[in-house]
């Protein structure tokens, strides 16, 4: 699953544009996971701040 660190996030939408699933949504001043995430990690790579992390459940 994708974990969003809202304190780190800069609300820029870079992750939204690279998401192959259209799963992320930048709503005014917060980022939200709105649809099914495939945990590909592309958004986490693109983030300028490191606010996104794919967490694999044990």
């Amino acid at each position: 699953m994708l974990r969003i660190n809202r304190d780190k996030c800069g609300y820029c939408g870079t992750c939204v544009a690279v998401c192959p699933e259209d799963a992320l949504e930048l709503i005014d001043a917060y980022l939200s996971l709105e649809r099914d995430c495939i945990a590909c990690g592309i958004c986490a790579r693109a983030c300028p701040l490191g606010a996104l992390e794919v967490v694999h459940e044990e």
């Binding site: 939408g13 544009a17 690279v18 998401c19 790579r45 693109a46 983030c47 300028p48 701040l49």
Partner: protein, 398 residues
């Protein structure tokens, strides 16, 4: 906000504002919606724009010009500086804008031309009927509503979700997304008349770091790196922090922003039935410089002109709206984007050694004209050892 308009514009940046103004002036009923609660903020931009380009759309006004630029300097990895001086070149350089004020001015002009402007209103999805776009479902300050329109102009920037939800592929490949961070810094020693570009794989892999003056001792200090070079410990912010610690240790940071700049090719098609895509959402950013303001205004205005004609003729099908797509591709802007895409693809292959060699070869010359093609012609002339690869680059320009 009414429930039906001739033209609905999604997004209140320069593309959307120019589109709304142009469409309203042509006599259409127009609504511009912006998902943020204020126009122009937060800024996601280094704020540089060419003078001549800007003047085609608006009269320069000191209220939204932070600095006038006289030269650009390219600084190679070993510190070799190539200075491009306006007074030695035949053309003008540019301005650094105050986007918060600039964007408001553009939207104010759209409103004055008769467009409705509604903030804190987000298009959640297109209204689709018979395979075409007939408006948008919106959330306006949390309240759901539907806005129908003959044509929707998607000006929703980097995110570009509206066109995506209408069936166009707007996803940016990771390697072609520039991951960017920027500080507005004050109390720093800079050349207030120069935009500085730092190149190199240690400084900004597959991108560049910029210092764009915003006035005396104040500048946008920012960086863009390729998404594929971005990872924990070496993200845009990390590179920027290292540069700032080294070069401006006593500077004060009064704003920190981030953003993504798509440097891929433009969308394969920028129209659909009842839909036109403009500005960053259409991926018409200059792939070499990352500059998007001028191209946003150009595509916004052109799309609104074509939309007006199509509405008058009663045909807003994809085929009719294609006049816009074909128009911008055949334009000066369209040709420059295609050329600069190829130039960018070449430059990102260069290691620091080659960058240093190229910079040294042109460090002491004065260019007659401020342009990518002049620069490349000089590089070819002065680097016989790199003739083969540079020649290939020259052929791309031809």
């Amino acid at each position: 906000m009414k429930s039906s308009y001739d033209i609905l514009v999604v997004g209140g940046g320069p593309a959307g504002a120019l589109a709304a103004k142009t469409a309203a002036r042509a006599g259409n009923s127009v609504c511009l919606i912006e998902k943020r609660s204020a126009i122009g903020t937060p800024v996601r931009c280094a704020e540089g724009v060419g003078k001549e380009l800007l003047k085609e759309y608006i009269k320069p006004d000191p209220r939204w010009i932070s600095a006038e630029i006289e030269r650009a300097r390219l600084i190679s990895p070993d510190g070799t500086t190539v200075s491009l001086e306006q007074d030695k070149a035949g053309n003008e350089v540019g301005y650094v804008l105050d986007r918060k004020v600039f964007d408001r001015e553009l939207v104010w002009q759209a409103a004055e031309a008769g467009a409705d402007v509604v903030v804190k209103t987000r298009a959640t999805e297109p209204i689709m009927e018979n395979g075409g776009v007939r408006g948008a479902k919106v959330l306006s300050s949390g309240t759901p509503a539907e806005i129908r329109a003959e044509v929707v102009l998607a000006a929703d920037g980097t995110e570009a979700q509206f066109a995506r939800r209408a069936g166009l592929d707007t996803t940016v490949p990771l390697r072609e997304m520039m991951s960017c961070a920027q500080y507005l810094m004050t109390g720093i020693d800079i050349d207030a008349g120069s935009t500085d570009f730092y190149l190199g794989n240690e400084v900004a892999p597959e991108g560049y770091l910029w210092v764009f003056p915003k006035g005396d001792r104040t500048a946008n200090v920012g960086i863009g790196i390729s998404g594929r070079k971005s990872r924990d410990g070496s993200r845009a912010k990390d590179y920027l922090d290292r540069f700032v610690a080294k070069n401006f240790p006593d500077g004060k940071m009064i704003e920190a922003i981030v953003g993504g700049v798509p440097v891929c090719r433009p969308l394969a098609c920028t129209v659909a039935d009842g839909l036109m895509v403009i500005g960053d959402a259409a991926r018409v950013v200059d792939p070499l410089t990352g500059g998007g303001i001028g191209n946003a205004m150009f595509t916004g205005r052109l799309a609104a002109q074509v939309a007006s004609e199509c509405i008058s003729a009663g045909d807003c099908s994809k085929e009719a709206l294609m006049t816009y797509d074909a128009g911008w591709r055949a334009s000066h802007m369209g040709r420059i984007i295609e050329r600069n895409y190829k130039v960018k693809e070449y430059f990102i292959t260069l290691d620091d050694k080659k960058l240093n060699t190229l910079a040294a070869s042109i460090a002491n010359i004065s260019l007659k004209e401020f342009s990518v093609s002049t620069l490349i012609k000089e590089l070819i002339k002065r680097n016989p050892k790199m003739l083969l690869e540079l020649k290939a680059l020259k052929d791309m320009l031809a």
